[in-house]
């Protein structure tokens, strides 16, 4: 019995990253609450990070660049999640809902 060495090919990682991006995009369009859209956005960022790490492992002449880029993506994603969640809390205190259909008016 034999099995292909899946962990050693670039295309597998790229396909996984594309799958995460597609699922995240589907969730971003499909979800109707703001927190659900934020979760889908985190999935898209994870797909981008996997792409960077895969190129770093297989193609980059300097294999520290992709790791550092992924660390910065993590920092930016944490900051984005904190800001987005505080905006969501503020929206909830004003509107009593976080459904995107209900917070569409700009009357304050």
């Amino acid at each position: 019995m034999s099995i292909p060495a899946f962990g050693d090919s670039l295309i597998i990682y790229l396909i996984i990253a594309a799958l995460l991006f597609g699922i995240g995009f589907y969730g971003l369009v499909h979800r109707r609450t703001l927190i659900g859209m934020l979760i889908a956005g985190e999935l898209i960022l994870a797909g981008a990070s996997i792409n960077f790490m895969a190129f770093n492992r297989f193609l980059a002449p300097d294999p520290t660049v992709g790791q550092i880029f992924t660390l910065f993506i993590m920092g930016i994603a944490a900051a984005e999640a904190a800001i987005a969640l505080s905006i969501i809390i503020a929206v909830y205190r004003n509107y009593r809902t976080i459904d995107v259909e209900d917070v569409a008016d700009l009357n304050g």
């Binding site: 699922i23 995240g24 927190i35 979760i39 294999p63 205190r93």
Partner: protein
């Protein structure tokens, strides 16, 4: 192809399991009706992504993925879910034309086009590596080549902390004034 009952074959099996974990977590994160289950799916997905980073020769980034995403971001989203108390989502597909089959078709289209693009491109392998990409090399280049970006991201994090505090505090004082 490697034999199944060797180190490489078993690591391939574990890799398949990690990929299944990632995809299953992502599907839970986008498909569950209750948001708290979606956050749990997101945490499962990020554990799988950390396993993928481990397979990509960087255990440090895998550890940071576990610490930051599973330990911080998911817990923060859980706090927001508890504070905002969202209702479970009704049947999707009402109100917008994008929710429903069209969003599914868009996701499939993005996935198919990106993977077709990745499969047809001829990737150029590097001639040689300047270092081995270990944690020591990452730390050296983080403090020499990328020190400016390192300082800037600390500034961004500080600003995001202050901004989150200001935004959350404004809503509280306004609600306190009304009630």
């Amino acid at each position: 192809m490697v034999p199944l009952f060797s180190a490489e074959g078993l690591s391939s099996l574990v890799f398949i399991f990690i990929v299944m974990t990632t995809v299953l977590g992502a599907v839970i994160a986008t498909h569950s009706e209750r948001l708290i289950r979606a956050v749990t799916g997101l945490a499962i997905c990020f554990i799988g992504v950390a396993g993928l980073y481990y397979y990509l020769n960087s255990p440090f980034v895998a550890l940071m993925e576990m610490l930051i995403y599973v330990g911080a971001v998911c817990v923060t989203i859980v706090f927001a879910v508890m504070l905002a108390d969202p209702n479970p989502e009704g049947e999707p597909g009402q109100g917008s034309i994008f929710s429903g089959p069209l969003s599914f078709a868009l996701g499939i289209m993005f996935f198919w086009s990106l993977s077709a693009l990745a499969g047809r491109t001829v990737w150029i392998l590097p001639q040689g590596r300047t270092n081995d990409g270990s944690l020591e090399e990452v730390g050296k280049s983080l403090l020499t080549n990328y020190s400016m970006v390192f300082e800037l991201i600390s500034l961004v994090l500080l600003l995001s902390i202050i901004g989150a505090l200001v935004l959350a505090r404004q809503g509280r004082s306004r609600t306190g004034g009304q009630s």
